[in-house]
């Protein structure tokens, strides 16, 4: 026990005793539940403060704190934990209630009681993720929201996020003040969705992901406040009718559907794989014909070849400020996209995401006939950059013709077309790391030719590789690093932790700063590789 200097403690105490309880609770609300609960031990005054924090976040993964692995914790322990905390809870109202844990219908009564608890406390945000991610998890074992006891009309809840469960009537229709709804891997049928739309008249934002049973989505004037609709990978969906709605933003990613578009849209994302729809630019041009002149942001999945074919259909996109293109074709030159730039005089930002891998060299330099100046273009980003001729040509054209250009971002990692935009390099980086090195070299060469007034960011991040595949990589004794990556890694604590665990070194070993290089031998040989140029697998030597 520390000895207390009476004089010192008086002034300190005066100070801190001035901070009222609400402020202390507010501070605690920025901590994880675990940290907040620990504050109970500080002093008598603090014993119960944490029990009034306005947000309760029960996360299976985070329960044990940093650096521990959650394999030992089973879901019954999780349920006990939640019940224990809810019993202790003293707050009068809740801002946020969050549960993230693999839970199914067998624990329905517990889950129901938690939901009722939260609603009684007039919760504003509910985030329930039951984590049954596997597609073959039997539907019959999933929790139905809300299960046994029907929910009375609820007026406090404004934000709901549900994942991996089943939604039936009347379900969310009772949440009359709902503004934001996010559904991922939730089983619901058309009737339930329509009921929801007509009863939640305050709904402003709806995001539907992987709702496998939906066949048709219709939004009409009864959802008068709905401004944003996003639909991802609802693979049974056949038609979407938003014609009578007031939607401003519409995002659709999945198979081709029958679409009746809204006239009020200013932001459209329409990404359809080309096996279900050829000639996507023409298709999009026709579907959104009524909104093209007012569009401010357009996201399309398209190939250069389709752009050349469909460009004649499009009018001038006179309000377009942001253009994002996802490109999955391997064959044609990306310089064809310049035609889209020419159609968008007010364009400020261009993003190009190259999702493919070309194994052979791409198309050679093509003739660019466009000479138009892009007066407003300020930012260009290229993801999945490799340095093929056509990519370089496109960038050169932009540098030459975009007089207002301020920033170029070049990222050799590919992203995937999902809501989270995660880097695709994470999963299959192993054979492709040589590619990343080459891409960086090409980016470097290109950057040397750019005038200094333009700020170029070469994205160094390879942390997708780190956090997911590091274990398997290290166990093979091969590491893909260079000195720059080590420095960047020091900023990414989570990746470092994984790295340390794999090396069997204590997390708190500050020695890393002294580590210049890490040395690994190839599996099966004692050969130590040192020079970068010898092989694409960079090696480093390590000393403590």
């Amino acid at each position: 026990m520390q000895t207390v200097n009476p004089k010192r403690s008086n002034t300190m105490k005066d100070r801190i005793s001035e901070l009222p309880d609400e402020i202390l609770v507010h501070i605690l609300s920025f901590l994880s539940l675990r940290n907040a609960a620990r504050s109970g031990i500080l002093s008598r005054r603090w014993r119960h403060l944490w029990k009034s924090v306005p947000s309760l976040n029960f996360d299976f993964v985070n329960k044990l704190g940093p650096g521990r692995d959650s394999k030992g914790l089973n879901k019954y322990q999780f349920v006990d934990w939640v019940n224990a905390v809810l019993d202790l809870y003293q707050g009068k109202s809740l801002d946020e209630f969050r549960i993230h844990c693999t839970l199914g219908v067998d624990l329905a009564s517990s889950i129901d009681s938690w939901i009722h608890f939260a609603i009684d406390k007039k919760v504003k945000r509910m985030d329930l993720d039951f984590l049954t991610r596997l597609d073959f998890f039997p539907v019959s074992l999933k929790y139905t929201f809300p299960s046994c006891n029907p929910v009375e009309t609820v007026t406090s809840v404004e934000y709901v996020s549900l994942s991996s469960c089943i939604l039936t009537l009347p379900g969310i229709g009772k949440f009359r003040s709902l503004k934001h709804l996010f559904l991922d891997r939730v089983e619901l049928v058309d009737e339930v969705l329509q009921h929801l739309l007509s009863n939640c008249s305050s709904l402003e934002y709806l995001n539907l992901q992987r709702a496998a049973k939906l066949v048709s989505v219709k939004v009409d004037a009864s959802s008068s406040k709905l401004k944003c609709l996003m639909i991802y990978y609802c693979l049974s969906l056949k038609c979407v009718d938003i014609y009578a709605s007031n939607l401003i933003t519409f995002t659709y990613v999945g198979h081709k559907v029958d679409l009746k578009s809204a006239p009020s849209l200013t932001e459209v994302s329409f990404c359809v794989g080309n096996h279900s729809c050829e000639d996507r630019l023409t298709y999009a041009g026709v579907q959104f014909a009524g909104s093209l002149h007012q569009l401010e942001k357009l996201v399309l999945q398209v190939s250069p070849h389709e752009v050349s074919r469909g460009i004649g259909v499009l009018p001038t996109l006179c309000n377009l400020k942001v253009l994002v293109l996802w490109v999955s074709s391997k064959e044609d030159s990306v310089t064809a996209f310049i035609q889209l730039l020419d159609l968008s005089p007010l364009l400020r930002r261009l993003e190009l995401h190259l999702m493919y891998l070309r194994s052979q060299p791409g198309p050679s330099r093509t003739e660019i006939t466009s000479e138009s100046v892009h007066r407003q273009l300020e930012e260009v980003e290229v993801g999945g950059f490799f340095g093929f001729e056509d990519e370089i040509q496109l960038l050169e054209h932009v540098v030459k013709n975009a007089v207002a250009l301020k920033k170029i971002v070049i990222d050799p990692c590919r992203k995937d077309l999902s809501a989270s935009g995660k880097s695709v390099e994470a999963g299959n980086s192993f054979p492709f790391n040589g590619r990343l090195q080459t891409a960086r070299k090409h980016a470097q060469h290109f950057c040397e030719r750019i005038p200094p007034s333009i700020n170029v960011e070469k994205v160094e991040a390879i942390f997708g590789i780190w956090s997911l595949s590091l274990h398997s990589v290290i166990s093979k004794g091969i590491l893909f690093w260079d000195a720059n990556d080590v420095k960047m890694a020091q900023l990414n604590a989570k990746a470092m932790r994984t790295f340390f665990c794999a090396l069997g070194v204590s997390e708190n070993n500050r020695e890393l700063e002294k580590w210049d290089k890490l040395e690994w031998t190839h599996e099966g040989t004692n050969q130590v590789k040192e020079s970068k140029d010898e092989c694409p697998l960079l090696t480093m030597s390590c000393f403590k």
Partner: protein, 170 residues
């Protein structure tokens, strides 16, 4: 202080240590306490407002903060503005020791400036996150007034929270 145009009204504030600050009306309105006062007493705008709970050091920092954030808000929203705001907030907090952070929190609470209060409280939370109990006690200048039995009881009651403490940074 600029030689303002006739239109911009100035409000005078007097701190606990008897310094007077003249601020533009727009900034004074960021202080919800003052805004409410003026809403209820529209004729009082000529008077000096006493702030007995705020020192001049705090007030000048707070005025700087509000001025900068007003300027940020006047510009068009974009990701680069957001980043500038973040950097500004980080810098604002970084150099301050725990004492002055607490003083600022008290002042922001008294003046009822929600955004500043959120930001400062988050900063304090970041400073005590994952720290040992002793560190946090030192931070807040707290005495442990539990008996050993009580302390053991609390640890047992919330066993899940006391696993895996990280060593102190300092």
């Amino acid at each position: 202080m600029s030689m303002a145009a006739v239109e911009t009204k100035k409000i005078t504030l007097r701190t606990a240590d008897n310094h007077e600050f003249e601020v533009e009306e727009a900034i004074a309105m960021e202080f919800s306490t003052i805004k409410t006062f003026f809403d209820e007493n529209p004729d009082a705008s000529e008077d000096t407002i006493p702030l007995p709970n705020v020192t001049s050091k705090c007030l000048s920092a707070i005025i700087e903060y509000c001025k900068s954030h007003l300027a940020f808000r006047a510009r068009e929203t974009s990701s680069s503005i957001d980043e500038q705001v973040r950097t500004y907030d980080e810098e604002f907090v970084k150099a301050r020791d725990n004492e002055s952070l607490k003083e600022l929190i008290l002042a922001a609470n008294y003046l009822n400036i929600k955004a500043l209060l959120d930001m400062l409280n988050q900063a304090v939370a970041d400073r005590i996150k994952n720290k040992s109990v002793e560190y946090v006690r030192r931070f807040f200048g707290l005495e442990n007034d539990y008996t050993p039995e009580e302390e053991a009881a609390i640890r047992a009651e919330n066993e899940w929270a006391f696993e895996g403490v990280d060593p102190d940074d300092d």
